[in-house]
Symmetry: C3
């Protein structure tokens, strides 16, 4: 079994076997992260470039830590102090980075499709760390690993994704990943935040949270982008919280052993109540821990492609 692509651009184009390959690899690297010396020589002498055009804490740091634990050299490409402000195109910037013999380019960009464009033009492995409202494939992989760890598998699970489905690359990548692995996916949120065509991806749409949560195994709460408030999407965060904030009372509609996920950073009291975020059903910090193992696995698999 081998990956078809040198890149990880989205979940949509992966088949079930490829997704499972990534999940298995993450599980084996999770052991490294638990060791006293959390470092293996896998990518010694390789160069990983973090090319982030949107501010990010956890994703950039997570990739940086993952790459360093594989012994790669990591270069953080600062955007504000970069040539982009001198008007250079994204492709010229990326070609220049590759000319320095980069092996991996990890890109976050506000334009959907930016990583795909780079991947076509470059020999380096390109990893999408979030492109616009399109996809965020490593987030979906770490969510899948976390669910598998708790539930033993994905097939047949009922998963509710709650919030701004329309603008969420996390939702989109998870919908592809979960349905490919046989879960039943529901989405719920204010009507203006659920795209019209979403049912074609195989999910069911709910506008009422109580119905959406009924009997589910997993609840994924999305971060509410507060800056969308008042722009015809939802009137106020207060009104949003009244209808969609995941509270302890509301999760009683789900299965008793429901697990609660959130990609972070959380807005406490808006999309999720503090007692739920910090409660026993929450796996929010396990998601972060699994993010390192997933990204180590992704770097390992893309780096070794065609070699073994």
């Amino acid at each position: 079994m081998e990956l078809k692509s040198k890149d990880l651009l989205d979940i949509k184009s992966l088949d079930r076997e490829e997704i499972n390959l990534f999940l298995d690899s993450a599980e084996s690297f999770k052991e490294v992260t638990g060791r006293d010396i959390k470092k293996v020589p896998t990518l010694r002498g390789k160069t990983v470039v973090n090319l982030f055009f949107e501010p990010s804490t956890r994703t950039r740091t997570s990739f940086e830590i993952a790459a360093k634990r594989l012994s790669a050299d990591v270069i953080n490409f600062s955007i504000s102090g970069s040539s982009m402000s001198k008007g250079e195109s994204l492709l010229d910037t990326a070609r220049n980075i590759e000319a320095m013999s980069s092996d991996f380019i990890i890109i976050r960009h506000s334009a959907s499709g930016a990583p795909h464009m780079l991947a076509q033009c470059l020999k380096s492995s390109v990893i999408n760390a979030g492109d616009g409202s399109h996809e965020h494939p490593t987030q979906a992989l770490l969510d899948l690993v976390t669910i598998k760890e708790r539930k033993g598998g994905i097939e047949g699970l009922k998963v509710a994704i709650i919030g701004d489905i329309a603008h969420s690359r996390v939702a989109r990548s998870n919908i592809y990943g979960l349905t490919k692995l046989g879960a039943e996916v529901r989405v719920a949120g204010p009507p203006a935040l659920i795209p019209a065509e979403i049912e074609s991806t195989g999910v069911s749409v709910f506008y009422n949270l109580k119905e959406a949560l009924s009997d589910v195994d997993v609840i994924m709460v999305l971060r509410l982008q507060l800056e969308r408030q008042g722009k015809n999407y939802f009137p106020t965060t207060r009104e949003y919280a009244r209808l969609y904030c995941l509270t302890a009372e509301r999760i009683r509609d789900a299965k008793e052993d429901v697990m609660i996920m959130h990609p972070g950073p959380i807005n406490r009291g808006i999309e999720i109540s503090p007692e739920v975020a910090d409660g026993l059903s929450s796996v929010i910090l396990e998601q972060v821990t699994n993010g390192i193992a997933v990204r180590m696995g992704v770097l390992y698999l893309l780096g070794g492609r065609g070699e073994a």
Copy 2:
């Protein structure tokens, strides 16, 4: 002899033996810094996170160099480009970092007590790199190492600390460290910059620089925060300099072999004259050099706690 805490939060809560343990460790690492290959494998596979919420040059760089010379992986956590601007709480940010299997979190924060709050909630070793106007323990340790090196010991020395005592975490940490090790500490500065309760820490207060400097072994000059000018603390920097700038003439009141210290960066001609800052009595650059060794020692001791 073992440290009582997994963290280094302040000097106030350390006893004399613990302080000496840190000083001894720094002295042994100083030898590494003088080698041709300035690197030991002590912290290989460990992750050190620099979490700086205030701009800093020398302290962040000093910790980064110290950690790298111990072979740790270092992650610099950029604050402006971080989740904090998305409204995430300090504790959520720190919990997320820890979920990535960090071993050390080095924090600088404008809020006094921020490192203590983190230390209580996290398993990682937390090192305070300066919290508000509270403490800056590694600065005091490096100052103590530098004094010991020049004077052979601390006990019985007369030390004058000059400047804005009220707002200085450097002053506070040094007062605890010096008095615990048996030095006689004097503080001097404009009345509005000396806190009312300071004598309870065992120091003597002087408003006249000549009297404060009489017969002292060590003079520590504090950096004047120029932005306080005109805010009822002191009228102008010119007036401040006239009364408190450490000049060659003024140090004649001290012992002949007096040593002159400053935590940097210096305001030449305001709190210290260029000829004193660059003179033979000045150990300002030795303080910087010792900062690396002190921080290597702190990381080493906290990292090895309970293991040997």
Copy 3:
């Protein structure tokens, strides 16, 4: 054969043998960059500090990658978040860095001569990564390596440098390097962008691009600083492009095997047309690749000075 200086400050003060030593060293490190494991232990335990006072992408990244491939520890000194904003002088900042046992300080600064001033006061090796409109010696070295690779040598070649000669440190360093190695150098551009005294360096001046390009082996296009538009240097970028943009038609005046160079980042359609920048004669990305090897060579030679 040994370098006379611990520093690399400019090309002007190097003799032909020293330049060739740098070029030979780059060629031998180029092999390392092509390996699967692009890393050698040459500078293990050494500390390289990137001290950049001007925004830069490729030069800082290139030095960082070069140093890491030599196994050095690299510290990026962030300027906006630094003591400089607290009013510390450049020399105090550099002395503090050196007190942390730095081995190399790589500096980019808007003031011509800043690296020379540091080099005089510090024991660390200082490398000029661009000072004002003075020199950018590693850029010239990488350009020379690239020309030698394609043309087999420098002696006797006809080289045209096109654009804002007056403000270009790239032009200045290349003029010294090329003439020392025996090339015939022509400069061309709008009269207001060609300094009066330039002919004293041994170059010929052209205001007409067609004449300048006649029969040349190498064309170096300089980046146009768009912010100079309308400041008496040139009226508009459109007018500049009409007269000086290097197009496919214009390079027909050069030799058939002419090579096209640009230090990047390029303004497509202003100083160079996209078809020329991306065409077969262009070596723009090879320049970037050679930049890594050149900087590895420079660090290696300066680091080993006086040791072998």
